[in-house]
């Protein structure tokens, strides 16, 4: 630390300019259009966005926890619990939606609160705490449904995931889920990048000791991050309930997809750096990859192999870049 050309390193360490995830997404979309020109039509891209919406929302919530220096593995089983729970509570009564939806959102917040409390006060590392929560919630979903969930949700509940607004100029129609996506992501992006909360989420993920000595309420910020992730899980569950059927594995695997999406968007594992729009970009890119694999007629297990490799590759690339910029 004696010499070293200060200005030189300064230039190299300037905050990132263009995030590679957008380049990746553009390439993937190009490939999809090449294979299926119909994608440029509203039915093509709107359905793509609709399908991507739950994952994108989930990734936008997950990036809070990752940036704060943790992981949230419980969101996949939270989705399952929301879908199963909603089907049990509504019990085919369309009028029940009006209290079941807020209740499910509250449940998401509650699960996040619990995760946060366990991590902050019982000092359980978030990876383990939320893994335990994941197993617990899956078990709860089974117990609640008696192992045989009812096959449907009332249409009023499925409205969010399934309905469209028709006769919109330019794009012809907009799925409700895309509107939900825009609103949720807009809010989460604003919170992350424009408010005190967002700056402090970054600070505690970067260096919790320094943040604490600077007066940052570390626990409160961390718990809030988990609650936002839980809330995003509940919203994703409500959307998925609209287009998938009710089953006890509707949410399985989503937690890892969300983490992959956030990392693709350049979120720093172990905290300190993360972007909501880029995580959403990561989710869209991941969905685009799945779409391509679908076109190619590759079966589900191949998707898993690819997803696993992407996660490893994204982290390896991030580590490589970090070494080059000299952390």
């Amino acid at each position: 630390m004696t010499d070293g050309a200060d200005m030189q390193t300064a230039r190299r360490l300037r905050l990132p300019q263009i995030n590679p995830v957008w380049v990746l997404l553009a390439v993937l979309i190009g490939a999809i259009i090449f294979m299926n020109p119909g994608f440029t039509q509203p039915t093509g891209y709107m359905n793509f966005l609709k399908r991507a919406a739950p994952l994108a929302i989930l990734a936008a919530g997950q990036v809070y926890v990752i940036t704060s220096g943790g992981f949230d593995l419980s969101v996949g089983s939270l989705i399952t619990l929301v879908v199963v729970g909603a089907s049990m509570l509504t019990n085919n009564d369309p009028a029940a939606t009006y209290w079941v939806v807020p209740l499910m959102l509250g449940m998401g917040l509650g699960v996040g609160l619990l995760n946060g409390l366990i991590v902050c006060f019982l000092r359980v590392p978030s990876l383990i705490a939320t893994l335990g929560m994941m197993i617990t919630l899956t078990g709860l979903a089974f117990m609640w449904s008696g192992g045989a969930p009812r096959g449907y949700l009332p249409d009023t509940f499925r409205f969010f995931g399934r309905e469209l607004i028709r006769d919109v100029p330019l794009v012809r129609f907009i799925p409700i889920s895309v509107i939900v996506l825009l609103v949720v992501v807009g809010l989460l992006a604003w919170l992350m990048h424009r408010t005190n909360l967002g700056r402090q989420v970054h600070a505690i993920g970067d260096n919790p000791v320094a943040a604490g000595l600077a007066g940052v309420p570390v626990n409160r910020v961390r718990i809030t991050a988990f609650m936002l992730s839980g809330l995003s899980g509940a919203i994703a569950g409500i959307l998925l309930g609209g287009f998938a059927g009710v089953s006890t594995d509707v949410g399985s695997g989503y937690e890892l997809q969300a983490i992959t999406a956030a990392v693709l968007g350049g979120a720093q594992l172990l905290g300190g750096r993360g972007s909501v729009p880029a995580a959403v970009g990561g989710a869209l890119a991941l969905t685009a990859i799945f779409t391509l694999l679908n076109f190619l007629g590759l079966p589900q297990p191949v998707r898993q192999v690819v997803q696993g490799l992407i996660l490893i590759a994204a982290v390896a690339l991030a580590m490589h870049r970090r070494q080059q910029t000299g952390t």
Partner: protein
Amino acid sequence: MTEPVIEMEGISKSFPGVRALSDVSFDVRPGEVQALVGENGAGKSTLIKILSGVYHADAGTVRMHGKAVHFTHPVDSLKSGIAVIYQEFSLLPERTVAQNLFLGREPRGRFGLIDTARMRRETRDVLALFAAAGRIDPDQTVGSLDVATQQVVEIAKAVSTGARVIVMDEPTAALNEAECEELFETVDTLRERGVAIIYISHRMREITRLADRVTVLKDGEIAARFDDLPPPDAIVRAMVGRDIADFYAPPATEAEIGAPVLTVRGAGNDRLDGIDLDVRAGEIVGLAGIQGAGRVALAMALFGHAPFTHGEVTLDGAPVAFKTPREAIRGGIGLLPGDRKSEGLVLMQSVRDNGMLTSRAFAPLWGRAKRNRHTDETAMDGLLDAMEIRAASYDQEIRGLSGGNQQKAIVARWLSMRPRLLIFIEPTRGIDVNAKAGIYHLMRDLARDGAGILMISSDLPEVIGAADRILVMQNGKIAAEFPHGATEPQIMHAATGETEVAA
């Protein structure tokens, strides 16, 4: 006079956009300590890296024993007898002292097996040169040694490879007072054995204690060369390029000192006992003592990080008992931690975000980050400007800044909170001379604005120069108090407790 072992002549080196060295000549003779001093960025490390073959000079020659040499890799220079001891050691913590000393050149015995007995014996022989020998067992793992002893092992390793030139890059950075003294003795031993030593440091006390000759670098050029040991002022003047009459800010006058901001009576916890302390408005109180005397524990108790368990504390006359840093900050106390990187900074965040961290922490979570009731981005940029922080942009990640600029950003963080009492722990550790002067003047300005300042430092000249009153701690107690103008021996005496009644 002996012939130089190393002569560097007309060395120039540029990096893209920066001229790191221009036409630098430098030599060192056997059995002498040549001090290489200069501020951060002056080119000292670049020069050493050229000597050891890490970098290649754009122009100029390096001669060893009169013959031109071209090292292309640090291994080349090591083989020729040049050892560089960096601040980060090259030792393997899980290996024993002997294994480290003979790493890669283990003596072979019968059947090509490693002759461990000989290795141990030779390790003892080399270690016997140093005062620390008694503390080191050749079979001990290096990781189990403290930093100072590891450094001895590192130096012993250089000696055992037959190094004729040893470069030490700020070797005392991680050492306490007593360990420093031991290192100086080690350097004396090496000098007597005819080793040429290039000693890099900013600390005047070390240079005056050790150096035979001094070379001062500034902005990549030789600013001064002294063939005899000059007075410290002359060295600093050459380094900084200006006079240092105003290096420390003038002490407070009677009129500037006001009512007590902080009073502590009979306070203690498991590390501290019977603490009585006053800090008055407008006053800088220095807290001296050896490592582990309880200075940092006292700061952390006042700051609510490891609170007092008994005793009374008042802040501006009102009784307080802070249980967390958050409460202490709300009450009007600020603290600059001693270890900037691990306790002070959020390194991946921008300079501005680091400056605004505390003010944001006390604003509503959901509120806009741009502005809060303590400050806003424009005002923070103004504060950062006023402190002359050198950064390409305040949006730049703070880890790219020098230590002095990083420290100023933390000061800005607290300035925006207008604390009543500001605690500085090792405020100038690892920062260069100009930035140091800046920090001292900032402290004084803060005091003049009516805050009380408590400064903890292991750098005695700094405590003596910057503080209006000096408290010396020992074993968790305040052992002595001195007015401005106390001398180093007086303070050291009180700190090591070789006087008075044993309580």
